[in-house]
Symmetry: D3
Subunit: 257 residues, 6 copies
């Protein structure tokens, strides 16, 4: 399988499921639905060390890319996610160059960063068998997504893009809308911020990095893809369960009439 | 809240979700989607003692009826499900009057059955505070569904309906289709067995009992309701996750074009 | 440490905690309070295979005897509880000699019974290191308690006491009161059944077996001890939590006045 | 139900249970005992991300306020606790204004703080259905307790009280006694520090904030209430289990004599 | 991958690991060591419904055959193991033709047996996508091993081999040695019973079935293979951990001298 | 039992198992193999708050010293590990005096550090019964190991050794080899770094502290012991499982020939 970063760099659009329920069987069920990747959310979702460790094999078995979003500032967990077998890590609230540097350092082995050695689970879960090969190739194989979702982050974007170890930008439009309105509104699809969103992608691609975004309205996938967002989060379990339940219950109730 | 059995007896159609994933958070997510009941499946699903015990509060909190399907012949678990707070138990493969009697006995306190005393979790999870009231009212409050899904069961139906403690019949059309075809076909919506299915409902209602059925095609809800099936299983997590994912991924992919 | 059966045979009164919450840390907390034994309840409590296996080390570390009550008729679990390190098993609803024989057989190695070999966890958790010693001494070291709690059991008592492998009788006064009143009353301390309760102890002791009972009113410990009940269940977690909470909250509220 | 902060502001005395055992069923048992709130302790107790997420529904179902104490400095978890459905968070060792600002920021949405959007579990667990309403009302609905338990904190108290997002002070008398004696003594009810404890409440109330405290001797509830401490932690599971066990075992043993 | 039964029928010798620790990560570690199969033991090991369900993906990912040994008489679990994705089930203490018939029936769909429809996890975990194909091919794809480990079983062997649905015999030499000596000795490699062990294999192969055995001395693999035992259990986690620890500790200690 | 630090100070060589699998039963199995200590790894291993809390009793019951390695910079967890009953904590990547001071402070009660009071699980799991005794003796009873595994750490070694609360140095040769080669090589037994490794031990012992190291080749135990490394990590579960499996499978396969 090609790596996530190589597929994105090649221009593929990648759809990721977004898992909030910290249960390996639920993740396995999601992973079997044809998504390109599954992201385990430790920031606003319920995932934690144990559920991430136990959920990754089900994602790999489905042929999807395992991605982890860590809690704010928990860069210890960025390294751990990689040691558990994640291919990419998304770090929320990267609001400064210092944040980006700390995140990048946790994601990459020396000399690029200071990730500590110990792929206890990741190595046996991979096709690699030689530790030396692992050391030399991991930095290129993993993908560090810095989230840009505040005005401070927007201001620091160029520096963030230059921080060692940062491979891409992931936009969080919900927080971005709150920032955009000074706390007045939660509205991830506000038209008045779309030019800024487009600009983030442009600058990210110009810097040779990849761009991702969280979608609350999946029909915007095309528009975001045109902006350059190749990694798109389209479906959390809770949305999936709501959508599927509404359809099935609706059909059942409808047939009663 | 009215009891499940009183609502069914009054002619309401009740839609139950069907949970196979033994995880309380996933059950909580399902329970919040507007189903009238949530059934935790211990026969073909992954539910077990621990997951049933931990999932029931989330169902109750959503205002839905907690139901448990036990494994084949595990009548010890029928009593336990009630002690954990289930309102109804579905027993698969009740193929003889002896099966029905054993199941009914596990579901009801003396003198009707021989359920043992000990509502350790069920009583504090209920609105009842007085043990004596619990003893005297539980037999009427709980609902024992015997599954009819083989030719032997069909032959024994009248005796099953008379067995002490049996409150209703739940039809399993998948197994019934296999039985109907001598092992040749799995097809839960075979037209050639629908008259038999209708007959089961008729005889069940004539005996003053309630009837339920598992749907693989939810648009048949109306047809089954007309037959008298008031308790209808319409949505397993895996179907819900498949349906929701297909819709979201389809819309996302569609917008790319 | 002396075995539970040897202590009971020597006339000690043994108080057991009664655990319903399937969690090893909660069991560890209970085990540290000075009880002689801790009983893990799989019938009306929430314990299951996993929680029993994980809770026994905490009981042993506290120097208490680990006991398991199995679900009705689950004699496969009687053997498993011993393989996990339980010293005694209580089987509910032993209502016939056949029940007693099946239970006894599951508890004892040949030639007394037909317990299957495999003390996977029990042997390393014990002080025994030699499998041959384990085989030859286990039947005497373990304690099989048959529950007598129905009229049928009372009628069959002498035969139950003679069944191979049965070491003692454990009375369940709650179910017994329901049986005594034909399903009319749940009242474990009914005076009108106390003579029958005393008679069970007398016959049990005459047969050279040990007697146990569940107490809902702990101040009856002395009276039951005089009858010969040496193994007494005095405290479930839920009662302990209710009693402790009432005391602490009461004192706090009282001091506000 | 009124919010915890509105009840405290109105002068009610609120008693919270204190849970150290990371198990939802044990928390459910505690929550059913009449406490006004249940606090899940992640600092010295065993609670963790998974147990907090799974325990909150049982607290809500009992009609109690769910509160979480986070580990030292883990402000990422303050936001997560709110996303899981906690109503209040207690942060230990807030020893400087900078600590208080960081904690307050994690607890409140912009513009007051920088809490990130994503009430994945909290919103469906609440009565709120509209995200915009959630955004606008959450800052007032949640309660941030900063722990004051060192001399440094005492010195910084006025600045802590002014930090954006801080709603109240929670005193930890055990650590305070160690601080008070330069590491020489653990004695949470030292008389010589009571005037300082009273002073903390006075200054907190003067600043328009609410005050809470941990009690090791519940009969001091009245005295602390008079000082202005309205939120009082009175009962950890381990104390409850010890108190309840001592009472039941004592009565049982006493009746043997 | 060829099926387990087809590989055995073709004369391959298959070595299975034997897992007693109910933890998916431990099973994953074992599965990665080059065993042909991994057997999850629910009789004397600690595996249970949840651990079996969660451990199978790790076995499949390693390219090994997942096998489950059920508890004595728990034929409900034989069907469930298959629904979770097990390829083979081993049933202990099949001591009569009736036992064998009940086990065989639980393992095979009609008309051969009466296994109930519902491969909730097994089907998506397999390469099969069509339910009809699953129905028609499963009986041949699954492998039912009846354990012969008592004198009664030996006497009933021919009838057991003829029971519908029984595909093979698995010998338990530990219990067999106890039976052989009337409860006097646990010695799975007794020379005086080896002729009987060889005879079981001969009769099993003559009946067109496959033969398996549990080894406590792995150097007997060749001898048993010559007898016809093609499925050999060689390594439980506890033995593996003991052997590996002794080697590493021994080398470390040795180098100190 | 003597404390770990007193045994090391007295010149004993202590071998620790290294656990990566977050499961109490697996830890119990490892702890029973004769290791002097068991280290639960939260940095590169899968251990987390829950598994650490639940695994410690099994280590204590085996008479081994419980040790925890925390994730990078998670000093909140250092205190928690002690509150759960760990005797020693290993902190990775202590690359500066500031790191060492923060770690030491989290490990020791005032006045030496600022560890917060609350040995909720540790105190009942110990032989100590008096909180005052606990407070006064804990600093001497616990052992804080700072990991030295980068060039920055080597440069800061003297200051690290002087940091309050630091009791010993633990060398990580894998990361050290990466640092030594500027990211070019992972080789924990490089001869060209052994003089530096020996120097770390010399300086550590000169400062009156204890020294530990992780071994990838256990036959180097003697050489490292001569350097002064008294605490040696010799066996992770994964290595143990690999070694034991290779031996058993090898012997089985060998006997087939
Ligand atoms: Mg965000
Ligand atoms: Mg069926
Ligand atoms: Mg009873
Ligand atoms: Mg404190
Ligand atoms: Mg056997
Ligand atoms: Mg390292």
């Amino acid at each position: 399988m090609n790596t996530l970063i190589s597929r994105l760099a090649a221009g593929e659009t990648i759809f990721t499921a977004w898992s909030s329920i910290p249960d390996a069987l639920t993740v396995e069920a999601m992973a079997g639905q044809g998504y390109d990747a599954v992201t385990l959310d430790m920031q606003h979702g319920g995932h934690h060390e144990d559920s991430v460790l136990r959920s990754i094999p089900g994602i790999l078995r489905a042929g999807a890319h395992p991605v982890v979003r860590i809690p704010v500032g928990r860069f210890d967990m960025a390294s751990r996610a990689l040691d558990f077998g994640a291919e990419s890590v998304i770090a929320p609230m990267i609001n400064s160059v210092a944040d980006a540097r700390a995140f990048g350092a946790a994601m990459k082995y020396p000399p690029l960063g200071d990730r500590s050695w110990g792929p206890t689970f990741a190595l046996p879960r991979s096709a690699v068998r030689d530790p030396q090969e692992w050391l030399l190739n991991s930095n290129a194989r993993t993908l560090a997504f810095a989230m840009v979702e505040t005005r401070a982050a927007l201001d620091a974007l160029d520096g963030i893009l230059e921080a060692p170890g940062i491979d891409g930008i992931f936009v969080g439009p919900a927080d971005f809308s709150i920032a955009w309105t000074g706390g007045g509104s939660i509205d991830p699809v506000r038209e008045d911020m779309m030019e800024a969103v487009a600009d983030i992608a442009r600058r990210t691609l110009s810097a040779g990095k990849v761009a991702g975004i969280y979608l609350t309205n999946v029909t915007m996938a095309g528009r975001f893809a045109k902006m350059g967002y190749r990694f798109q989060a389209v479906a959390s379990e809770l949305r999936v369960i709501a959508a599927g339940s509404a359809a099935l219950l609706g059909d059942a109730r409808g047939s009663l009439a």
